[in-house]
């Protein structure tokens, strides 16, 4: 396994994710960048917080994975 290749793979997927692109790799799954809007969060103690927005990476494995 070529290290430069793995590095390139990582960088490319990273760059595409930052660009909000969806990366779908046959045989593996799909990566996407999901945006979570800022939202209010209520705590049990009555405190209400405004949570800042964030992006998160969502990975969905390919279907046949479930076997």
């Amino acid at each position: 396994m070529d290290k430069t290749f793995v590095k390139a793979f990582r960088d490319v997927v990273r760059e595409e994710l930052i660009k909000k692109n969806i990366i779908e790799i046959e045989g593996l799954g799909r990566f996407e960048n999901r945006h979570l809007k800022q939202r209010e969060e209520k705590r049990e103690n009555g405190q209400v917080l405004m949570m800042p927005p964030r992006d998160e990476i969502l990975f969905t494995p390919e279907k046949r994975e479930a076997s």
Binding site: V6, A8, F9, N21, I22, M50, F59, P61
Partner: protein
Amino acid sequence: MKVDRNKLIELLARKTSMEPEDVEKHLSDLMERIREAAGRGKALEIKGFGLFYFNREGILTFDPAEELETEINFKYAGMDPVEVRKPRESADTISDSEPEEEEDPEDIFGLEDEESTLPPDKADRDEKPMATIFKEESTFDLESTETEEEPEPEKKSSDEPDPKRSGRKSRKEKVEKGTLEKNSISTIITTILVVILVSVALILAWDNGLFDFLSDDEPYEVVAAQEETETEAQMPTEEPEPVEEESDQTDQAEMETPQSDEEADTGNSSLYGLSGQLAELEGRHYTIVLHSMRQQANAEREQQYLEDRGYRSLILNVDHPEYGSMWRVGIGQFETIQDAQEAAGDLPTDMPDNFFIGLIQ
């Protein structure tokens, strides 16, 4: 846009200057590696990217590395939760649903020998299965990045924060710690704080002739420390034009009817709103941040664009230790978060929808 396998190969070929055929071979190889390692109940980590493994249901799972999560979130760097309403002032303020709370005191008192007091098996488990990998300096030894231990999800949830959630968790913890300390110092400080804030608000309100507002609005309380430093950022570089008063009394009239339709009164001089001219506001207020940029020039261009369209627009400069100077372009000035959110809902569809509300002080 969607990047499929072919597109990915193309991008990879460009990056590595390899032949597409070679790239394809390598890619299949890598896929094979991931499945094979995961199939053996191991996790395969690509450093700086994330961890692949099969979870208990046998579903391939990917936990993004912290670097990756941070990187895609750079726009929101330095944003911390803002307290909208204070916790109730009672003994049960510490929610018992959070197990982290119990561990905090130990951290605070710095129990060094914590490890030795633990039963050996617990101590072992406390060591993150991936800890060694994360520390490893050699960037890309795939062989050694295969963990010997299967990362069992249930173990993780009890002994360590799920890496996927860690970002959010740590933020939460920060806030909770704050709450904890506050409580331990007793409600006296809170009371004093409230009194001070209220009197400051009163003075400010009096100065601005805003006294009417106070009656129906409790002033907001304590904000996470970082948010405050962030929003200390100055108002736009170009001085906001002082509010033009058409006649002496207009201003007063405007203030008594802050609910007047903000969309309609372009060019009018109400203190808050989406459109019109920037008002010189003292005290806390909010803006809808539409863009977060690294280049000042870009931010200024966006601001100019918004101004040309008749919106109030301002630039916030935020210094971040990791990402340097960030330029945030805000639209509108609002008295409360709720107002800002309401207005944000009315923004034209061609504006970014990943806005967030920023605090200006």
